[in-house]
Subunit: 175 residues, 2 copies
């Protein structure tokens, strides 16, 4: 039996995220999303009655992915800090894509998206602080992760950035 194929609903959300990430929110029109998902516009609107509902659907899925990620982080064999830094650079995973997409929406002054992102960040911070027992260090590492993430999503990524960060964090005994 082949793996269960992705539902139309999921394919529509995938398409929405992909367009947001690669082309920006101006390009993520309902027509474009439908075309990318290989669904008619009517089919898209059957699953999501409005663009707003499409955003809601995306953020709901993001929160689910985020909860799984925080759990994986606290149990990672390389430790939470290593896991956090590695996953702050865009690996092209579904979760990364969803995260970047939500960032695009948040910038349109959408509080639903901002709240979802803030909640995700808080989840990571809790794991970092508990592991390190040092609030300043935890906050600083989180900022470094944000920086890695920002550079990555703005096309400013430095090849060796992660290596430089590891070097500095070793001096601090955080890795």
């Amino acid at each position: 039996m082949p793996p269960a194929e992705r539902s139309t609903r999921d394919r529509v959300l995938d398409a929405f995220e992909t367009l947001l990430v690669t082309q920006g929110s101006r390009a993520a029109t309902l027509d474009a999303v439908a075309a990318q998902a290989e669904v008619s516009k009517g089919g898209l609107l059957y699953h999501f009655h409005s663009k707003d509902e499409l955003v809601d659907g995306m953020l709901t899925r993001l929160r689910e992915q985020g909860a799984r990620d925080a759990a994986a982080m606290s149990e990672a064999p390389e430790g939470p800090v290593g896991y956090y830094l590695e996953t702050s650079v865009d690996s092209g995973s579904d979760f990364d894509r969803a995260l970047i997409a939500a960032g695009r929406i948040a910038q349109e002054n959408d509080t639903r998206a901002s709240n979802a992102l803030a909640d995700l960040r808080e989840g990571w911070f809790v794991v970092l602080r508990e592991h390190l027992g040092d609030e300043s260090l935890a906050r600083t590492i989180q900022l470094i992760g944000d920086g890695l993430y920002f550079d990555d999503t703005t096309g400013l990524a430095e090849k060796n950035a992660l290596q430089h960060v590891r070097d500095v964090l070793q001096r601090l005994g955080a890795l």
Copy 2:
């Protein structure tokens, strides 16, 4: 004599940036920019013949502001690192606004904007590395600055973030 009033051209660019920052690129329409600048649409198009020219005008002004900022950074009394971190949080200056606005444009896959931002970042990095004589530390500090900036522009800013960073950087002897 009151301060020389801002030229219409500058007011249009200000308005464009303000809309990009506060509402996102979808909201930065020519009509909206004209209204925000208190200029007629015809007046706007008198100065910038197209939306593309408006973007070019904004990026040109940004590069000028950036050159001045890098110079100020290398001569700052509190040192380049302190100056860099302070100015990474959005102080609401014209330069901050221009920077955030360019980020919005860069996300629409506009290479002009990406190039402008990359050049600005390179300018800051050169100053940091020369001052610190330590590439890893310079890169890491730049990432922290990016993180501060990202959080600020996404509404995720932590009140005491800067204090935590100072604490950690003091342990590293970078401040």
